[in-house]
């Protein structure tokens, strides 16, 4: 059983439209770097210099990793990782 990684709408163009991809159990930053090998460009959208960008949140199951062990938070098989960037639409031109 792998880790389920949920890709947010703005990044799905980098995953060929997939909203969910499989990842390997391990630290969050390793999961991001592993995604980069399959979906080039995605790591830069999520992180910079090994740190998750400050307008993107990552949740392991329902918990925000900033309040766990941040990028070193361990993710186990069967866990769900959600990448949640800030979105601003509302009024819509």
């Amino acid at each position: 059983m792998a880790v389920k990684v949920r890709i947010p709408t703005p990044l799905q163009r980098l995953t060929q439209g997939k909203e969910e991809v499989a990842g390997k159990a391990g630290a969050v930053i390793d999961i991001i770097n592993d995604l980069e090998t399959r979906y080039p460009g995605i790591a830069e959208r999520i992180s910079e210099g090994g740190k998750v960008r400050r307008f993107v949140n990552i949740y392991v199951n329902e918990e925000d990793i900033r309040f766990l062990q941040a990028e070193r938070t361990l993710v186990n098989d069967g866990d769900e990782v959600s990448i949640v960037p800030a979105i601003a639409g509302g009024k819509g031109g």
Binding site: P10, E19, S82, A86, A88, G89, G90, G93
Partner: protein, 271 residues
């Protein structure tokens, strides 16, 4: 049976009968709704359902700010407006729509772009603020101002097939900067204009924002304090994640770096 209440007219007793029947609302709750003042930022995709349902609920005063005029591309989702109001200021179009639905409601339209110079004075007169804006500078301006003047803020956002919703109670729970510490730079901030949105999605999120407002006014139930609700329309799922208050938050933390409103537009050009 609804009890006679001299505070209501016969029409009002009928108009609000489905509210008054609810033990959680009753005549007392309906009176609270009629006395409430709610300020809506944006008269577009989210502001339309928010304003519509708040007006229907009998929220006595609805302030709404927007400096745009109605365009035909708005009408796929901005249901406060119509083909007949093309070219009209959105706040005027929305005021006519909401007041036609319910004459108990006074709509105060402000045809301006919200600015750091005016926001605190504007929201001070209201009980609750609802963020229905479409850009990050406004979203962070509204958050910071609400934290500074301690106004409850119901924040909603949408993009393509997704929606986000959270309720900020300054001093009690998280704020938008606890959730997302920094505004994304423009190249990381796609808009509905760039990526599109299904017109009914702001209807879903805006309706939920209206429900949060009504619960806050009534003081009933739980709101999305310290929580973010994420709607995925394609999967037909709602996910709720926890949002702890960040002690290091730049605006509501223990030692805030932001104590005055900033130039939120710096580096951003309006789309």
């Amino acid at each position: 049976m609804t009890q006679r209440n001299p505070e209501f007219t016969e029409d009002q007793l009928q108009r609000y009968s489905r509210h008054i029947l609810l033990p959680e609302v009753g005549a007392t709750g309906q009176k609270k709704l009629l006395d409430a003042k709610v300020f809506v930022v944006g008269a577009g995709g989210l502001g339309s359902p928010v304003g519509y349902y708040l007006a229907a609920a009998g929220i006595g005063t609805i302030g709404i700010i927007d400096n745009d005029r109605v365009e035909i591309s708005n009408l796929q989702r901005q249901i406060a407006h119509s083909t007949k109001t093309l070219g009209v200021l959105k706040v005027e179009s929305a005021k006519a729509t909401f007041e036609a639905l319910n004459p108990d409601v006074k709509v105060v339209g402000i045809a301006e772009r919200l600015s750091r110079d005016t926001i605190r004075d504007i929201i001070r007169d209201y009980d609750i603020v609802v963020d229905c804006s479409d850009n990050f500078p406004t979203r962070y301006l509204v958050n910071d101002a609400c934290v500074m003047v301690k106004k409850p803020l119901v924040s909603g956002a949408i993009l393509k097939f997704e929606g986000q919703l959270t309720t900020i109670l300054p001093g009690e729970g998280h704020c938008y900067r606890c959730l997302f510490e920094e505004m994304p730079p423009p190249e990381h901030a796609p808009s509905c204009r760039d990526l599109g949105v299904i017109g009914a999605i702001p209807g879903v999120i805006g309706s939920l924002q209206a429900v949060e407002v009504i619960k806050l006014v009534l003081g009933k139930g739980e709101v999305l304090k310290n929580a973010l609700l994420i709607y995925d329309a394609l999967k037909a799922t709602f996910r709720r994640v926890t949002v702890p208050r960040n002690k290091k938050c730049a605006v509501c933390g223990e030692d805030p770096a932001i104590t005055e409103l900033q130039d939120y537009e710096a580096g951003y050009c309006r789309t």
